[in-house]
Structure formats: C-alpha cells, structure tokens
C-alpha cells in the first residue's frame, strides 16, 4: 500500500490522543475540529466541522475526528493487489 504523508496532522492527532479521555467524557458522538493543540469546536456532523474548519483556517490543515468509544476501522476487503478486478 502506498505510504501517505502523515505530517500535516501530527500535532492535531497527538492532541486528540493525549486528551482522548476528556473528549470522550464530554463530547461522545460529536465531531471535533482541532487545529494545532487547540480544540476549536464540536459539531453534530463531519460536514459541519469541515465547513467551520475551512471558514476559520482556509487552506491550512485541521483535524476532524469523531469522538468514539471504539474507533472505527474501515473494512475494505476487496482492496488488495487487484482482486477488485480479478479475472479468470
């Protein structure tokens, strides 16, 4: 799998992890908007968080993440070495 540059959100992701317990206690089920080491706001949807993020920070990077008890793991079983278009 192609590696992706994670650096743009390193600070924000670290903030989220360090404050996970407090975020869970206060904002379970919400989407948080994080810039640097600051919680900018909480929202009911990722779309609303994105709109707020673009309004506030324009083209700069920011993190949108749902506060979940158990983090969602995306399941994409067909995605491996061409099996999506397998021929026989």
């Amino acid at each position: 799998m192609k590696e992706v540059d994670t650096s743009p959100l390193e600070t924000e992701l670290a903030y989220f992890e360090e404050n996970r317990a407090e975020l869970l206690a206060r904002y379970l089920g919400k989407f948080v908007l994080v810039k640097g080491t600051k919680l900018v706001g909480t929202f009911d949807s990722a779309e609303a968080a994105y709109d707020a993020g673009v309004s506030a920070f324009g083209l700069e990077s920011f993190l949108i993440r749902e506060v979940e008890l158990v983090e969602t793991v995306a399941s994409i079983p067909g995605l491996y070495a061409g099996v999506l278009a397998a021929e026989r």
Binding site: V54, G58, V73, L84, A85
Partner: protein
C-alpha cells in the same frame, strides 16, 4: 422512498451481446462514471485567493458492498491537492494500514445519482485497477442495490 433508479446494463439484441454484458459485469463488477473534485467550500477559498482550482477528475467508480467506506485513488487526491482532514485505520485483505481521509466531492456524470457534495473518503491505491473510486456502504446507506447476474443488470434505487 422516492423511486429513482439507474441501471448498468447493455442492450441485449443478440446472444453475443448478452454474453459480452454478462462477462463485463462478472469481471469488472458494477461500475459507474464518477467525477472526483474539490469541495465547493475549498473551491471558494482557492478562488478568493486567486489560486489554481484543480479540474475534477473523471473516471470509474466501483459499487462495492464489501467496502464500509468510500475510497478514492491517492494519485487523484494528490493531483487535486485534496485536504487531509483525518487519519484512520483501514483493514484490507492484506492486513491493516493507516490511511488518510480526504474531504472531497463526488458526482456521477451521465446518471441521475445524487452527487455527494461533501464526502470524507479514504485514500487507497486504486489507479492500478483502473478505478477512481470505490463507492462503499456509506454511499449505499438508504438505497436499494439490485444485482441481477442472470440478466447482467445492476439497479440502484433511492
């Protein structure tokens, strides 16, 4: 539920064409034209700052009921300079990997499928499979997908 439907099929005037359609659907799955673009919100900021607005990328999307999330090709994400808004874990047949989540807009030219103006799609290496996007169950939620392998017709209703 309002009924709108698109069908992916080929006219079947002859046995040969039927066989071709059957083979195409069996080999390639339910594919649909897809346009991957920059969300309007970001376009407005780019325009305001007189920055180049990347043109949307047109390609093929695969309707994938096995995929929990919609994915776009990372090469397209790079070309469109899409914004990474999160990182998440993706489980594939090859194991688990961390991947970027991009803010993106998806539309489906030539169909009546509703556009997805603000989508959070996972980056994946799809280009080597001729795909621009995998359309996952997040898109299919609230819709009816009918796969008729006997007639080589896929119908999506919503």
């Amino acid at each position: 539920m309002p009924h709108h439907a698109i069908q992916q099929s080929a006219p079947v005037p002859s046995v040969t064409d039927t066989q071709k359609a059957s083979l195409l659907l069996r080999r390639s799955g339910a594919r649909v034209s897809v346009e991957v673009g920059v969300p309007d919100r970001r376009v407005r900021v780019l325009s305001t700052r007189q920055r180049n607005v990347p043109k949307p990328h047109n390609g093929l999307g695969l309707l994938d009921t096995g995929a929990s999330h919609t994915c776009i090709d990372e090469g397209i994400a790079t070309a469109l300079n899409l914004q990474v808004v999160n990182r998440t874990t993706m489980r594939t047949a090859a194991g688990q990997a961390s991947t970027s989540v991009f803010a993106v807009t998806l539309s489906f030219p030539g169909t009546s499928l509703p556009p997805m103006p603000s989508v959070f799609a996972l980056g994946a290496n799809l280009g080597n499979q001729g795909l621009a996007a995998l359309i996952g169950r997040d898109f299919l939620a609230g819709k009816i997908l009918h796969y008729d392998g006997a007639l080589s017709i896929v119908t999506l209703s919503w």
